[in-house]
């Protein structure tokens, strides 16, 4: 749980700086292999981030130094590179504009999920994280089920009005690409690309924090 708490603490801090733009971009081939990209763009909050980094603590919590953040991000990247079924793991980190782009290829969706789970457990000092037993991606070749693990996040009552505003300024975009055309999907908020091979879900970070299941989708591909 400690790892999840750490991740959520980081996420909360990032999301609350306002104007964060996050893209998760999953490309799936028919054989189950693919590419996963995760991009975080905080360039429109440079001043806020730099001012937070200049502090020792904020709201009673210690603020990590830029060097500590760099070490942590690099260490996570190094760990991912070593996971079975994962190849071509890349990290582009721009600490001036605070843009982070991560990508890796995977042999199967199970490998990707297993790799993420192993790293999380390793960061949790080897203790299991039951939340990660949930399979958030299930792919059969023509059918993808995407669901977010059941995670308890801060409810709106606990988020101040000021923080709500900041969260509403941020965006989260989830893109899923296939080498076949999409036949149907069940999330009404999703939008199909013109070539019908990619589907996009966009939401603001406040709504996502309130209901992570906004990104759930069942997608059927043409044979």
């Amino acid at each position: 749980m400690r790892f999840l708490q750490f991740i959520f603490a980081i996420l909360s801090a990032v999301l609350l700086t306002g104007c964060v733009e996050i893209i998760d971009d999953l490309t799936l081939n028919s054989d189950g292999s693919g590419c996963f990209k995760y991009n975080v763009n905080l360039s429109s909050s440079k001043i806020k981030i730099n001012s937070i980094l200049a502090l020792d603590s904020l709201d009673g919590k210690r603020v990590p130094s830029l060097d500590e953040m760099k070490q942590k991000i690099t260490s996570l990247h190094e760990k991912l590179k070593l996971q079975p079924g994962i190849s071509n793991a890349k990290l582009e980190a721009d600490y001036t504009n605070f843009i982070f782009k991560f990508s890796c290829d995977f042999a199967s969706i199970e490998d990707l999920q297993y790799a993420i789970k192993l790293i999380a457990i390793s960061e949790n000092k080897g203790k299991p994280i039951p939340e990660l037993d949930h399979k958030w991606l299930i792919f059969s070749g023509t059918h993808l089920e995407r669901s977010v693990p059941k995670i308890t996040l801060k409810k709106s009552k606990q988020i101040t009005a000021k923080d709500q505003l900041k969260l509403k300024e941020g965006t989260y975009t989830s893109i899923t690409r296939f080498d076949k055309e999409i036949r149907a999907f069940n999330n009404d908020s999703a939008k199909l690309s013109t070539n019908k091979k990619a589907i996009m879900l966009r939401t603001d970070t406040y709504s996502l924090v309130q209901n992570p299941r906004l990104l759930d989708n069942l997608i059927d591909l043409k044979q």
Partner: protein, 608 residues
Amino acid sequence: MKTLATLFSVLIIFAVNGQKPEELIPQEAISVFSLNNINLLQKISLDELVQYEFMEEIQQEIFDGSTAQKTIKESGIDFNQKLNIFIGRTANYDVTGLTFGIENRKEFFTVFDDFKSAKSPYPEVDIYTSYFNRIAISGNSGILFRVIPKDFRVTAITDSIWEALGHTPEWYNEESFTEYELEVISEELTIEEAFEEAEHNPSEKTYLELRDSVDLSMQEKTVKAICDDLFIHKNMLINQSPEFKNQLKSATEGTFYMDNSKGFQNENTFDFMRSVHPQIYTQFEKLYTGNLMLGSIHILDHEIQFKLDAQYGEKIGAVYEELTDAKFDKNILPYIHQNNQAFFTYNLNLRNAYEKVTEILLPILSESKSREIAALVLVVELMDEYLNKDALFASYKGSLFGTFNGIQKIKTKKFIWEYDEENYDYTEQEVEAEEDMPIFVVGFSTDRNDIMYKIMKFNSQFYSETHDMGEYYMIDNAILNTAPLYIINKNNLFIYTNDENLAKTHSNGYGDASITKKKIKKAMKGGAVYAHVDLSKAVEELPEELFNTQQNQIVNVLRGKSGVFELTSSKTSNTGTTFSMNYKFEGEYTNSGTYLLDLINSLYVISK
């Protein structure tokens, strides 16, 4: 008659044995806030009260559901007695707490319901405990306090026992946690996890368990010593400090007492000097003797006045007198905008102070038989001979000013991702953006713009981020790696600002838009320090991210309030300076108590 006699006997017993709240303040107290007129607080809810830092620290375990929807009036506290909040410090521990009168014990313990009665070794004194907190009640007065042993003392004792038990020193253990990791673990260790770790070897204490035991033992020992002093030896602050005793006679709503000399004695940073150079330490200790801060709080209609007398020993006072022997620098006036939201001026004479410091300190240091100290004295004497002090102190005289001109949008760059609707591929685009930035001007007085020019000329020639723009200099991305910093070096001032408008179009000052002499009259005629803050304008706009936790605690209590805060100081003599803080608030307000608590909390946070 019998009943009357009994009643008289009881009253006599209370008169003889019962101590007043101010008589329960431990001698270790360095700072004390005494509220004489606590009637002001009656309407404040307990839930509101516990939000303050000075209450939270003492009573974090106490206030739970028992305070819900209750006011202080319903807490059993006697509003006819003083309420004192104290912070104490010694070389080995800190002690913080409250002393107060009790009118109704039943109501009192309805609020403080976590406390359990404990055996009292003191006649006529009842003791109650809850976790690390203690309440001692003598007659109708009580003290609620907590003792926190100094971390490094606990560690030193624990290490010593740990090694004596045959263990490897903890600092030598490669697997020992870093300070940060330890902090994270101690914060997040669940009860189950703690048991899991304990099960590792239940018959033997781990290092952390041993440390906890040492900590607890030190607490118990200290609590006993404090109680012995209060209830047996009568060694309390009021008997130790005639100044404190005298101050309590004040008819004002509240008083503030701070003994800086005690702070010096208990400051651990002087441990080295204390043990290696005891004679020098004794001399320094003498310098600090009599260094006291005595404050009084007056509450008027829509106004709180806080007056603080800083008293010094003669020698330290002589240094302060010389340091503040500076005239107001009128050159700064054009650079303070009339619509500023806050500004301060600080008039100092470093040259005079330097001469006085060397006059006082060098003889003390010269007495030392230590080679290192003698070498230090020699270096100072040689520098004094060879350095061009005229040039040095003309370049930086010591006087400063600063203004906060509100939040403005400044231009920055950001990146966005643009999507191709065909396949949702995206590309990165750099676009113009705006971010909020607090605008400030900070400058110091100089008689040698020519010397500052030489430094800036070098910087602009050899550092690519520094540009000579003619009337000003610009340093790229100097503010939070995002916005430029402008430097103006003219008119006997050296100014830093992020106000583009000031640098580019008003490098000689804001002209007609500058502050009027009338508005700054008090700063010009007062002592060394002056500050003016328009709370309704300034505080709301200040971003939290710019301040650390402690600073935010002070700023946050002022948020949502309107009015003007003004700090003035008198001319400094060799025995003291008087500072006056006036807080005039406007519009509707529930009661002065809230404003009073805000002030106390700010003082508490500052003096911690």
